[in-house]
């Protein structure tokens, strides 16, 4: 197990999104990205050159991450970056509860410590740069970082292959969920379908296109062993600061338009959305209660209207005072995020297994960072595109309740795909 020393460093050069994306591509790394017009007080963090990794290939649980954090509590900056994919849910639940459907192309979970961690404000002005010192891997010199030349982005082409589930299967799935709801099995289920495309060309350019297509609150560009994960997520799963945890589930989305005021009011008064948000708020209260002091868990805001570039979202804020600072205990208590499973969570996930019939991979898991002193910030991996060789995939879905209209729910998934389809100019996307 590794205890790292670090140095604060300075690198005088030009920084921008293009440079960061190219560097991640060149050396493997993670870019956590918030766009300048963001509504949350986000930041930009760049991690480069992995010097330690913990993933399901080399460990069974996240306890390795805990142990590493414990040894490195002096690193009071984002130190470990990575994700827990949706398919890892079985690791944190009693054996036999789930079928363990696993999409094997990406790791179930993966965390990296990087040689360099660079923090920026939203205008790409350097805040703090850190370099880990006693690493064994091949190191990048400061000179290399300073002189790094941004690659020329090249063309890419994305061609639609198929959707799994088909339109018919998705609509049948919605009806099946409504039967389960009427029978008392469940209150709400998030049903998704996976879209597969053929990819050719420059993955970094594709990432740039996606990231620039939207206002980004909790974005990610991640490359590891020639695989890419690009997320333009608007949703925070949870944040830990000074022993307090905050969860901010989203339910309810409306596209913005000319009659913005009307659209806003309709969303704020929509029964389906408000009930779903209430349900998810109670669910998140429950999940964070498992790791918080009794009496400390509070609903700080319900509902909160969030205004993004193209859409409005309904959000709530649930907060509590932690009774543990163990990363693995926190994840075990609250993973996967309730806003992308349904409620009650376990029964909802079982129904998702039955209807989706496949793992989701990293999609609807969470990506974020942990600092050595246990500050954390994780998103929900929605609006997330995965590229592995010539294959590009992403999922779209929605929350199904008794008040859903099956046909409309399918259209809603197309609506949610629209941003990605347009940013990547996907040919022949099947509406």
């Amino acid at each position: 197990m590794w205890k790292f020393d670090y140095k604060e460093i300075q690198i005088h050069r030009e920084w921008n999104l293009d440079v960061a994306l190219s560097m991640v591509d060149q050396w493997d790394g993670t870019l956590l990205y918030t766009s300048p017009d963001s509504v949350s007080n986000g930041q930009i963090i760049l991690g480069l050159n992995p010097v330690f990794d913990a993933c399901d290939n080399n460990c069974n649980t996240l306890e390795v991450v805990d142990a590493l954090l414990e040894m490195n509590s002096h690193l009071e900056f984002p130190f470990l970056f990575g994700y827990v994919g949706y398919d890892a849910k079985h690791i944190f639940e009693e054996k036999g509860v789930y079928q363990n459907l696993i999409e094997k192309e990406f790791n179930q979970f993966a965390f990296d410590a990087y040689q360099y961690v660079l923090r920026f404000n939203l205008s790409w002005e350097a805040k703090q740069f850190y370099g880990l010192q006693n690493t064994i891997n091949k190191e990048i010199s400061l000179q290399e970082l300073k002189e790094f030349k941004c690659a020329d982005f090249e063309a890419f082409k994305v061609k639609y292959v198929n959707s799994d589930l088909s339109k018919k299967e998705y609509i049948e799935g919605v009806s099946q969920i409504q039967e389960y709801i009427k029978a008392g099995d469940v209150y709400q289920v998030n049903l998704t379908r996976k879209i597969t495309c053929e990819f050719n060309g420059d993955a970094v350019n594709a990432a740039k296109s996606l990231i620039e297509s939207n206002r980004i609150e909790f974005g990610v560009f991640y490359k590891s062993k020639d695989k890419y994960l690009i997320s333009t997520s608007p949703e925070r799963f949870f944040q830990v600061e000074n022993n307090r945890i905050l969860a901010s589930p989203i339910k309810g989305t409306a596209g913005r338009g000319e009659k913005d005021e009307d659209i806003k009011n309709e969303l704020l008064n929509d029964t389906k959305n408000l009930r779903e948000l209430a349900m998810i708020t109670d669910l998140l209260r429950n999940d964070i209660s498992r790791i918080c002091k009794p009496g400390s868990v509070k609903v700080k805001g319900f509902p909160i209207l969030k205004t993004l570039k193209n859409v409005f979202h309904l959000v709530s804020d649930v907060e509590g005072e932690l009774s543990t600072n163990s990363f693995s205990e926190i994840i075990e208590a609250i993973f996967p995020g309730g806003s992308i499973t349904g409620c009650p969570k376990i029964r909802a996930c079982q129904i998702i297994e039955e209807l989706e019939r496949k793992g989701r991979g990293p999609y609807t898991g969470s990506f974020g960072y942990v600092s050595g002193d246990n500050q954390m910030d994780f998103n929900i991996l929605i609006r997330t595109v995965l590229i592995n060789d010539n294959k590009l995939t992403f999922n779209v879905g929605g929350g199904i309740t008794l008040l859903s209209n099956p046909e409309d729910e399918y259209l809603e998934t197309n609506h949610k795909a629209r941003n990605i389809v347009e940013a990547l100019q996907i040919d022949d996307f099947d509406q």
Binding site: K182, A183, G184, D185, Q188, A278, D282, G295, G338
Partner: protein, 199 residues
Amino acid sequence: MTNKSIIVFDNYDSFTHNLLHLLQQVRKEYSYRVIRNNDKTIFNFQPQALIIGPGPMTPSETGILNEYFNKIVEPENIPVLGVCLGLQYLAHRKGIEITRSTMPAHGAATEIKHLNTELFLGVKDSFLGARYNSLEVHKSKIEADPDLKLIAWASENDAAMSFHYKQKPWTGVQFHPESFLTSEGAKVIDNFFKQYVEV
């Protein structure tokens, strides 16, 4: 287990820990143990009270709950508060049929009326309670059973929202006292302890 111990029976639900935290806030002097509905270690315990948490499915799909009632809860006369599925179990135990709700609602705060019995002492005559249920018991079925006493119902469709056994320390609520949408949850829990546990 200490003298002052309570079991919270978890039906693999997503609200169990909200209920636990509410209990801990209202009565922090007790020790609480959350036990899942298939965990046989429950037979080692004779708690001061059993709280049956909410959950998915139907009252006959509550794991070893029925066996626990037969072996321990009934013979030892242990006080019980059933929440949602828990209330439905208490009705089901009397052979009352649980049916699909005429107004299924999830995450809805609905108006509840009550008879000012001990469980609702100090609670407004009509208050908002969170509903997360597709199944329900109509209040007339409770009223028709000579061993049961209906004490609260939904004003919108007369679904039973609370009842108790006349000869046993068992009561249930269909609404969710632990939800942030329920205005009087803590008071109901406090009343449960006063009426059944601390006597």
